[in-house]
Symmetry: C6
Amino acid sequence: SFGQYQLIYNAFSFGIAAMLAATLFYWLGLSQIAPKYKLAVIITGLVTFIAGYHYLRIFDSWESAFTVMDGSVELTGVAFNQAYRYVDWLLTVPLLLVELILVMSLTKSETVRKSVTLGGAAALMILLGYPGEVSGGIDGTRFIWGALSMIPFLYIVYSLFVGLSESINSQPGEVRGLINLARWVVVLSWSFYPLVYFLPFVIPMDGGTATVVIEVGYTIADVVAKAFFGVLIFMIAFRKSQSPATA
Amino acid sequence: SFGQYQLIYNAFSFGIAAMLAATLFYWLGLSQIAPKYKLAVIITGLVTFIAGYHYLRIFDSWESAFTVMDGSVELTGVAFNQAYRYVDWLLTVPLLLVELILVMSLTKSETVRKSVTLGGAAALMILLGYPGEVSGGIDGTRFIWGALSMIPFLYIVYSLFVGLSESINSQPGEVRGLINLARWVVVLSWSFYPLVYFLPFVIPMDGGTATVVIEVGYTIADVVAKAFFGVLIFMIAFRKSQSPATA
Amino acid sequence: SFGQYQLIYNAFSFGIAAMLAATLFYWLGLSQIAPKYKLAVIITGLVTFIAGYHYLRIFDSWESAFTVMDGSVELTGVAFNQAYRYVDWLLTVPLLLVELILVMSLTKSETVRKSVTLGGAAALMILLGYPGEVSGGIDGTRFIWGALSMIPFLYIVYSLFVGLSESINSQPGEVRGLINLARWVVVLSWSFYPLVYFLPFVIPMDGGTATVVIEVGYTIADVVAKAFFGVLIFMIAFRKSQSPATA
Amino acid sequence: SFGQYQLIYNAFSFGIAAMLAATLFYWLGLSQIAPKYKLAVIITGLVTFIAGYHYLRIFDSWESAFTVMDGSVELTGVAFNQAYRYVDWLLTVPLLLVELILVMSLTKSETVRKSVTLGGAAALMILLGYPGEVSGGIDGTRFIWGALSMIPFLYIVYSLFVGLSESINSQPGEVRGLINLARWVVVLSWSFYPLVYFLPFVIPMDGGTATVVIEVGYTIADVVAKAFFGVLIFMIAFRKSQSPATA
Amino acid sequence: SFGQYQLIYNAFSFGIAAMLAATLFYWLGLSQIAPKYKLAVIITGLVTFIAGYHYLRIFDSWESAFTVMDGSVELTGVAFNQAYRYVDWLLTVPLLLVELILVMSLTKSETVRKSVTLGGAAALMILLGYPGEVSGGIDGTRFIWGALSMIPFLYIVYSLFVGLSESINSQPGEVRGLINLARWVVVLSWSFYPLVYFLPFVIPMDGGTATVVIEVGYTIADVVAKAFFGVLIFMIAFRKSQSPATA
Amino acid sequence: SFGQYQLIYNAFSFGIAAMLAATLFYWLGLSQIAPKYKLAVIITGLVTFIAGYHYLRIFDSWESAFTVMDGSVELTGVAFNQAYRYVDWLLTVPLLLVELILVMSLTKSETVRKSVTLGGAAALMILLGYPGEVSGGIDGTRFIWGALSMIPFLYIVYSLFVGLSESINSQPGEVRGLINLARWVVVLSWSFYPLVYFLPFVIPMDGGTATVVIEVGYTIADVVAKAFFGVLIFMIAFRKSQSPATA
Ligand SMILES: CC1=C(/C=C/C(C)=C/C=C/C(C)=C/C=O)C(C)(C)CCC1
Ligand SMILES: CC1=C(/C=C/C(C)=C/C=C/C(C)=C/C=O)C(C)(C)CCC1
Ligand SMILES: CC1=C(/C=C/C(C)=C/C=C/C(C)=C/C=O)C(C)(C)CCC1
Ligand SMILES: CC1=C(/C=C/C(C)=C/C=C/C(C)=C/C=O)C(C)(C)CCC1
Ligand SMILES: CC1=C(/C=C/C(C)=C/C=C/C(C)=C/C=O)C(C)(C)CCC1
Ligand SMILES: CC1=C(/C=C/C(C)=C/C=C/C(C)=C/C=O)C(C)(C)CCC1
């Protein structure tokens, strides 16, 4: 209905503004970050920049898919591209992982190894979810590919939680609370994605309601996992830059 | 009527110019701000940048909703998106709260805790007001959701007033007057929003007049609460940067 | 007629170029200004930037209002927005006042008090003139609102002239001449606005001629009051920056 | 004819590229200029920036005035705006004068006085030529206004020639040759304008040929008087910046 | 089919985002690179900037070639430009070679000589592949030109592998692993191109499937050979910049 | 035919990318160039910037001249502007000459004198070739004007070859090879232009083939004479900046 169309429309518009504003914040704030941590903040801004670009395309695709006149919503026949998010995630999720791994302050070789293995798992996770998302239905295809995608997903989340937990004690006092918070934000926000993906199987709903749940749900998850989480990364880098011991 | 259409049109155009000019002022003036306060001014500019972006979209939506020819105003059938402001507020109100909390110069942990609780309350307040605003009528739906939104609203305003009052005495002399002024600007400008929202219940008015009151009222409130209030924040940061004791 | 249409068209085009060029000049020249005076020059550039943006919109509105073919000018039925200037002035006139008050080098509290009172009077002056300008005719409505607008106008001009006169003697020798010139530029250029507004009452003229007088007259006044006057402000700041005593 | 249309089209396109390239050159080269001369080079770039903006508009106006299909050129009925150059000159000629006066290295008061008197004369010259140019014919109106415009023109050129001649001897050796060259470039290029304006009275020609002579002639003069002349100003400033005595 | 169309569409969109994000990363990170290595990182960013530009054009060309309505895909008659990649490679492959040769840290004369000979071979390789790619079929023309292109290809890859192998031992310890990884990334990613080119000869497939294999395959290869490989170059430069011995 | 159309289309697209990438390379690399040589590199970038702008216009003109549908190419009746290159060369060739003359490291007066005389000859050469190029045919008009254009061409090339040869011995060792290479690149690439211009007289060819030879030939020459040659200039400036003796 019109209300559902407009809610998704406004969610996408919110996604654009949130991602672009986050990008500006991180990159305008680069001057407050010590050289040691600049790369991590540059990557943080890249994640939200890429996401902002993709939200602009998602927003345009949504507008093209419907004609809205006098309160009535009609399909135009132009398909809404449900897969744009996967294009976005294929880039941003590996970058987010690199961001997190840099936060762990591991050795150089361990950083590279973790980045490659977790990045590869993330790409696999996104690619395995793609066929299910574009199937366009709430059916077996969606379920099977989603289930397969859960495998690398669980491996990644477990690795992150363990890795971040281990790194907390080796961090300065002023950032431990933030890293602990970041750990939970990752686990919870990343878990939101498969939750949204599978929710139409758990709770029966019509096509319009399912679309609202999926699109608004993924948008909330994206803003938390990228923009809000990025603020945590920025604050960790900022506090480390303020402290003479870690600057 | 045409005069009402044009008044709202001009109000939105004024909103665009005010927000973009404010953004330029804060960010061009960053070089005059000590590192200690740069983040607060960056956030100040982000608020007006996001608002400027949303005013551009509001302006476009208003133009699309009507055909104006030979002094006569006709609906096009394309709905004016009355909810854009909520998309804007969902981002900018939490950012404004962070701005204010940074001004209070609390401890780091208290700053984070207040930011999260007040930010959450602000998001709740905006989300609770959304269904009432998009109902499109002056009716029970609008009233109920508005009343629910007042709960977090009162909690926020009370917390701000108390918090800013407490922080004034711990501030240097040259900014106390400004913080006192900011305190009242927040209370009064933020109270303008529910006032505008509920005004059509208090004073009977037709659809056109109600739209003028709502749209011009919200615009005035936005410019005061964002651009003008941001000037106060900037001046507080500027004066603190000038003083060797706080620079 | 076509000649009148083209004269106004070219006047608006001139306004765009003058305002944008002035903005570039002030802001490219910021590196030549001591930190003490940067904010004043930033504001100077903001005034012309806002005006340039509004002249672009005025220019577009003028183009949309007429069809010009084979030397003949026809109304399209799309109304020329005669109120854009008021939207512009509502922002730029208070900013100009702040610019002038900063030039007077008053105490901080006096600066803030004057800015608020004169800014409020300026907003009142613009708002009182708006209904008369948009009435679209040369009639009683235009006259009455214009007369009301004269009240804050006279208060502002008198305050400025007295304030600038008093501040001249406390200024370094190398800028006294410029501040004296600025004082007269303000009085004369600001007086041009009500002159243009009321001129059609004094000298009978047809609609086309009245429009030329009003639009070209306001444009000349805007360029003098903003771009040319801004050059004076810039030169005052520049000379003070060159002098070791005031840099 | 098509060849004439295309020659003018290419001349305007050349004007755009020349002016924008000149602007980039001056402003990218600002870092090579001593602070003492930066303002002069900023103004030099402003002249070509304004001109580039106006050439874009002239180019668009020329494209709109004709339909070109299969080698044949037809009027569209949309008038080519022959007056855009005057809008350009009204801004750029006074700025060029300020540029030249700054080169003369006069006293501050003499600089301001000359700028105001010659600037006023330049504005008068441009305004007096405007009615003749827009008359659209080669007739008495064009001649009379052109003749009136010659009065301030001669005053300006005489003042410049004398002023630049007088200043040459007080200049360092390494720039005397450039100032001498600049003096002649001003006299010759500025004289090209009235030459082009009056040429259709001296040599009989049809409308198409007259248009080619006027438009290509003015374009050549603009590029020489602005972009090429600006290179001389830049080189004078550059050499003075290189020399320890004048840096 | 629609699924195939959308997969290619999303692959191109991914290419745009990956290339532009990579460009931003390298160029925002330039401040972290010692002057000695800045040119190499500038070139790295140029490669991905050019590629991003070309992916935008490829994406537009793909959109123009089909009409997609209600799940059905029809040709528009506007040809998809299969040769854009060659225009891209003609610029980016020589630049990538220069990047790699700079990594080898050869003598200046050897660097220039290798750049010219390998650059020439690369241009030849791309030009020899062009007629086969635009033939539009899986036929003899495609095969013959592809085979000819293999000659310079093998020469280049062999030279690179040998050159990079020889340079590894003369590199500092902290970058040897990265250069070894880069060596393999080059060999494997560059080999992907002829693999994709010839694959339709090895495995029978219809037109739609062949297009998917070619377009998605080339896109994967481009992202790995440009964006991912560029990260390796950046990290090599970054680590060398961190080390006092090589900074 | 379609293949010919597409080859020229891709050549123009290659020209855009090559010129814009070259511009970015030179200007991003300015920080690596000593102040003494910055102006030469700025000019190098201006040449490719102007060329990139003109290739965008050439590309658009080519697209407008034909309709391409289902593999068939039809004229639209909108003329392809064959003269855009001359507009480009009229600006860029004199700038290239200045670039070359700066490389020769002559005295200031000799530099200015050579710039003016060779610049004038270059402008004459381009202007003399223009009527022949726009004649649109392979006929006497093209031949005669081309022959006239050869006169200043030969004078320029001879002067450059002699001037660059003389300057080589006075240059530091590390740039002699590059200047020698530059000398030959100039002679060979500049000779390509009249070769392409006259080739249709030497080898009989149809209109389509002649257009391919001319357009692709000029594009190759432009990229070599501007972008590739600019790399040589940049490297000369870079090496001189690295050497303490010439920095
Ligand atoms: C497990 C799983 C999925 C996981 C997706 C995830 C975890 C996405 C994370 C995205 C992020 C973090 C984006 C931006 O920051 C899919 C693909 C929905 C398919 C169903 C199963
Ligand atoms: C209480 C209340 C509301 C409050 C809105 C507020 C307080 C908005 C503040 C916006 C700001 C400060 C924006 C930009 O700075 C609503 C949602 C209108 C709904 C009715 C009840
Ligand atoms: C008194 C008066 C007026 C005054 C307007 C003024 C004084 C405008 C100033 C504008 C400036 C200074 C703009 C930009 O710098 C109106 C509104 C025309 C209405 C009639 C009475
Ligand atoms: C005397 C005279 C004229 C002079 C024009 C001049 C002198 C223009 C100069 C323009 C410049 C210098 C532009 C950019 O740099 C007109 C108006 C053609 C009208 C006829 C008489
Ligand atoms: C051997 C061969 C080819 C090789 C292409 C290559 C090796 C392209 C490399 C591109 C890169 C590295 C791009 C961006 O970085 C062609 C032309 C497909 C034609 C068939 C034979
Ligand atoms: C002699 C000759 C010509 C020479 C053209 C040249 C030499 C152009 C050089 C252009 C460059 C160097 C461009 C960009 O860098 C023409 C006009 C084709 C006409 C025929 C005779």
